[in-house]
């Protein structure tokens, strides 16, 4: 990478402004094309048959009757998806999750699929497929799955990370551990100790747009896929590998995305649609229903967490430990490991220990959800921190300030921190008017902190300057949160031209080099770095072309505010050449002018946020209402502040839903009881107050403009902030998320009964 990513201070002209979003009009008028809006002539309708059992061995699948139904063009089972994973265990899990091979591992697991001329015929065909199941004992609860004698989900799984190699298979795939110091000794120095157990239920990202794609496999072995995704290059890699294709022969074009939040980082239906198209010889459109999205895409983990924290009378934390158990669905994951890394990351701790257990259950394969695993850990830790502050007799903000990590602190997950932003967010909260606003009867205020790592990754960008001087920016990261506007601002800033003269598009997989997906809050961080690099490459060419036009050395040409400027006394009579003038002459100075960049963006920098919440509880019904909510977070540099605020508000809104209502409810039969938005209640506008935001800008030293990722951290504090507010309002500590009205009422009644 010939690019220096180090931060250097500068005065911005475009970056930091708030232009109208380029995709806004299409989205509010319904013109924007989402996954399900794409159609091809002659396309078939794909439908998937799903297991009604939580755990069952598939003895036999008879598709003969379905195949004979007029209008059915293809029927597939796992036999049509041979194993090309070549020993890659993670890819094999994805293959098995796309189409069950030997066992159905959760309610909703795909077992067969059809492509037919219309939806009615496809549905009829599904009913004609006969699956002979041997129903097995199941387990859906994370704690139950760890118990001796629990039904084994995969008898080839032996727990990793134990001191002694296990001799028996287990539902626990991995134990991980982090920390430093001596927690036993640390607790010995504590005057106060809080020890509690917490639970959080499984939630879904709740993206409004379901998974949707159109697959078209061609007779020459090539294929096209139009799909809603957070990472079309990753989808191409996965689909190509699962179908035994060269990646270059599969072109993936992404649609607009109606929400992803980590849930559109995995393939589910796409390899199935491609396999159906390959068998039928026609394009196949496959759109998951909401029921299927809930039952068979990737929700977050359900968790069970024990926390213990001790402090001296002066408020210094002496020791902290946590045991975190996270459900993974039926396939191995590293969700508890991440929880164990993030749990105490906000604090300066001499003695800390966290242990994570990854637990298999008969639920859908867990997927990432916005700062995956961190919100649940923060809920447990920040609840205990709040309670400990009370025992010590300190204000909860002051208690956190006293113990906050800072530059030079050894983080709970290992390394020593460089410059970080937890302190400034806490100081901002301490001084925020929200903290001083009066509260009424049955109302409570809570606050909490949150941490997330943020990532970079592989990124490739093209910047093309047209003959008229306008600029096309082709990027390979999906725009999930306004990145096309932000990246246009970045290109305009670097080139010194107006934002209106830059048009950013998300290019298909045949038009650019590989890009990692938009996850880890990396979209704007990584692609802005690549855009700056591409723009600087284009500027070098612009200077060369201006030098030709002037017939002087390129060394005498500088780039200033969108113009080539000849430097030196001997060129004093030369006027400036604008980008537009140089572009107009490009046909005779060497042809098209472009800048390209491929790089790995690293050094994203860790991120912190602190939230404040006011809530009112109805003691008669347990119903709650969030009255006021404030987010304070470090953005490094807010490229488009409105989008940054939107990310902060979106994370808080999702956190409020998670904290108060959302949960997967399984029956004793192992079937999901509430796979729809009527029974799985996400917050709507009328449930939420205006969410106030405060953007802090502490430059990231590893980005030229100081940019940090902002998309995920904002969902980390809400569970705890709301739990602390509700606990203060109700006078009883809430330890189980979601704090739905029945759960709050039960807690209130238990407290009243003493």
């Amino acid at each position: 990478m010939n690019f220096d990513p180090r931060y250097s201070a500068r005065n911005f002209t475009a970056v930091g402004t708030r232009p109208v979003r380029p995709d806004g009009i299409d989205k509010v008028t319904g013109r924007a094309r989402y996954g399900a809006d794409f159609n091809m002539a002659g396309q078939l309708v794909g439908r998937i048959l799903r297991s009604p059992h939580a755990h069952a061995r598939i003895r036999k699948i008879d598709t003969s009757k379905a195949e004979k139904l007029p209008g059915v063009k293809a029927v597939i089972t796992a036999a049509d998806l041979p194993d090309f994973t070549n020993g890659d265990a993670a890819m094999y899990d994805i293959l098995d999750n796309c189409m069950a091979r030997k066992k159905a591992l959760y309610d909703g697991h795909a077992v067969a699929a059809v492509a037919a001329i219309d939806a009615r015929t496809a549905r009829q065909a599904l009913k004609l497929i006969e699956v002979d199941y041997e129903v097995l004992a199941h387990v859906t609860d994370v704690d139950e799955a760890m118990k001796h004698g629990a039904p084994l989900i995969n008898d080839a799984v032996f727990t990793e990370g134990l001191d002694e190699k296990p001799v028996k298979p287990s539902n626990v795939t991995k134990r991980s551990q982090f920390g430093h110091g001596d927690v036993h000794a640390g607790f010995g120095h504590a005057d106060f100790v809080v020890e509690r157990s917490f639970r959080t239920e499984q939630t879904h990202q709740g993206y409004i747009e379901p998974h949707a794609c159109v697959a078209s496999a061609n007779a020459d072995g090539t294929a096209d896929l139009w799909v809603c995704t957070q990472g079309h290059f990753v989808y191409r890699q996965h689909c190509a590998q699962l179908l035994g294709m060269d990646a270059s022969k599969l072109r993936v074009t992404s649609s607009e995305i109606g929400g992803g939040f980590g849930g559109k980082t995995h393939v589910w239906a796409e390899p199935v649609a491609l396999a159906l198209s390959r068998k039928a010889g026609r394009p196949v459109k496959l759109v998951m229903t909401r029921d299927e999205v809930f039952r068979a895409s990737g929700p977050t983990s359900a968790t069970s967490i024990d926390v213990r924290i001790g402090a001296r009378k002066d408020g210094t934390i002496t020791a902290a430990e946590a045991t975190l158990r996270y459900s993974c669905g039926p396939y191995a994951g590293s969700w508890a490991e991440v929880g164990a890394m993030t749990a105490f990351a906000c604090y300066k701790l001499e003695n800390v220990k966290t242990v994570g257990y990854e637990v298999l259950v008969n639920r859908p394969k867990t997927a990432a959800y916005r700062a995956p695993s961190a919100p649940m850990a923060a809920f447990a830790v920040e609840s205990a921190i709040d309670e400990l502050a009370k025992q010590v007799g300190m204000d909860p903000v002051d208690f956190r300030i006293k113990n906050a990590a800072q530059e030079g602190t050894r983080s709970s997950y290992g390394p020593v921190y460089g410059p970080i932003g937890i302190g400034p967010t806490l100081e901002a909260v301490k001084n925020h008017p929200h903290m001083k606003a009066p509260l009424g009867k049955n109302q409570g205020r809570g606050m909490a902190c949150g941490f997330w790592f943020n990532f970079g990754g592989q990124t490739c960008t093209d910047l093309n300057i047209g003959m008229d001087g306008s600029v096309s920016l082709a990027v390979g990261t999906i725009d999930v949160g306004g990145s096309r506007a932000s990246l246009s601002l970045i290109a305009a800033e670097e080139l010194g031209i107006a934002y209106e003269h830059v048009k950013a598009v998300v290019a298909d997989t045949s038009s650019l080099g590989y890009n990692d997906m938009t996850d880890g809050s990396r979209g704007t961080f990584s692609t802005s770095m690549a855009t700056i690099s591409a723009a600087r490459n284009a500027i070098r060419t612009l200077r060369e072309r201006a030098a030709q036009m002037w017939d002087i050395s390129v060394d005498d040409v500088a780039w200033e505010h969108g113009h080539a400027v000849a430097k030196g006394e001997k060129h004093g009579n030369l006027g400036k050449l604008s980008l537009k003038e140089i572009a107009a002459a490009s046909g005779t100075t060497g042809g098209p002018i472009a800048g390209h960049s491929e790089l790995v963006a690293d050094g994203a920098g860790v991120s912190f946020a602190t939230h404040i919440c006011d809530i009112e509880v109805d003691p008669e019904t347990g119903a709650t209402r969030v009255l006021r909510y404030t987010v304070v977070q470090d953005a490094g540099k807010a490229v488009h502040p409105t989008y940054v605020e939107g990310q902060y508000q979106g994370g808080a809104a999702q956190g409020i839903g998670w904290a108060l209502n959302e949960e997967y409810i399984y029956g004793k039969d192992g079937r999901l009881q509430n796979p729809g938005f009527l029974d799985y209640r996400i917050p709507v506008c009328s449930d939420l107050p205006m969410i106030d935001t405060q953007i802090l800008e502490i430059p990231n030293p590893n980005h030229p403009y100081g940019v940090r990722g902002v998309g995920e951290t904002s969902i980390v504090p809400p569970l705890a902030a709301i739990a602390n507010a509700l606990s203060n309002a109700a006078g009883v500590r809430m330890t189980h998320i979601p704090m739905s009205p029945p759960r709050v009422l039960a807690a209130l009644e238990a407290a009243r009964e003493g």
Partner: protein
Amino acid sequence: MVEVTLWGSLGRAAGGTSTLDIEAKDIRELFRKLGEQHPGLQPWIDRGIAVSIDGTIYRDTWSKELPQDAEIFLLPRLAGG
């Protein structure tokens, strides 16, 4: 020679040690020598390890140099959402 600190689980895989001294100029050489000198770590390297250099986490820039006096800390290579 740089001192490399391993996170808890990786330390177990390396035979119960929390630090290793490795002669390596960059992340690529570090991973190569870790795999050679501690074969038990190779599956972990294949699965993905991130390297924290003075608190900044590097996941993919294997050409990143390892300063002699820097704090080098190995972490699981994580994914986001």
